[in-house]
């Protein structure tokens, strides 16, 4: 939008409150997640600060991260109860709240080996190599995914890797801005350097790009 001239400044916000949608007893996913919010302002500059986006989705794995059931299922269950025993919707027994489910192994395999390819494509599209980076800021999904992805991408030692998940957990849509903010707070000298960012999640969907750190 900034590039096209339809907006001078754009506020991009990533926010998530997954604590409303987890079953605390589900050890496959609940302990990984955190609530969070982060935002950046994008504005005009003399030289491009955001490289080409490589993005897409793989619907064949739509079941890998999913909700147990939908809000429509709740409505239909309550309507069915009213139809069967009478009374009003207010009196119908409340159906259980939907919560997130995950096939951890499927997501792990996809996130590491498929996303490493996407991350490499983002580097290629930007016309840079891993050597040109100062930082790698992947979606903070899981420390094992991050560490394995670093291995697959063969990132040089000088590239700082965001590991905000250790403290913040997986904050979903907020994880990249939160991790980037923390990285710049701890190491302001990275500002102005190139960072590879890659986000991925339920869908399964993904997006990667190289940016100049603010």
């Amino acid at each position: 939008m900034v590039h096209a001239g339809t907006a001078e400044y754009v506020l991009v916000v990533g926010v998530e409150k997954l604590s409303d949608f987890i079953d605390n007893a589900d050890r496959t996913i609940s302990f990984l997640l955190g609530d969070g919010a982060g935002a950046v302002v994008i504005g005009p500059a003399d030289s491009a600060g955001i490289g080409p986006s490589v993005w897409g989705s793989d619907g064949s794995k739509h079941q890998a991260i999913r909700m147990s059931h939908s809000l429509l299922d709740i409505r239909d269950a309550e309507l069915a109860s009213v139809a069967a025993v009478g009374g009003s919707l207010d009196d119908a027994p409340k159906a259980s709240w939907p919560t997130m489910r995950q096939d951890g192994q499927t997501v792990f395999r996809w996130a590491v080996w498929e996303m490493a390819k996407v991350a490499q494509r983002a580097l290629d599209e930007a016309g840079v190599t891993a050597d040109d980076l100062v930082a790698f800021v992947p979606h903070q999904a899981n420390i094992r995914i991050i560490d394995e992805m670093v291995k697959q991408l063969k990132l040089p030692e000088h590239v700082e890797v965001a590991r905000d998940i250790v403290d913040a957990g997986n904050t979903s849509a907020a994880s990249i801005p939160l991790a980037m903010h923390r990285m710049l707070q701890e190491n302001p000298a990275l500002s102005g350097g190139l960072a590879l960012q890659i986000g991925f999640g339920a869908g399964l969907v993904f997006g990667a790009q190289v940016v100049v750190l603010p």
Binding site: D103, G104, Q105, T106, F108, R109, V112, W113, N142, R144, E148
Partner: protein, 81 residues
């Protein structure tokens, strides 16, 4: 085409790289989880590395059936045939 002994040796090498376990502790009757203490995420890394090493495809839904090292060796051997 690799023999079962060669597959076992290759698998032991992959397990050693991922977990640091001595290759000789990776024996046919050992359970990945109960005997070798390999968690589900390490198991997936081992599976992907085995796919690459032996030129086979091990689908996600098959991984849960690979309880012992022998199960994995036999699956890889069958997939290579």
């Amino acid at each position: 085409m690799a023999s079962n002994e060669e597959i076992l040796a290759g698998l032991a090498e992959i397990v050693n790289e991922e977990t640091g376990l001595a290759p000789e502790s990776v024996e046919m009757d050992k359970s990945f989880t109960d005997d070798l203490d390999i968690d589900s995420i390490s198991m997936m890394t081992i599976v992907v590395n085995a796919e690459e090493k032996f030129g086979v495809r091990i689908p996600d839904e098959e991984v849960k059936n690979l309880k012992t090292v022998g199960d994995a060796v036999n699956f890889i051997s069958g997939a290579q045939a």
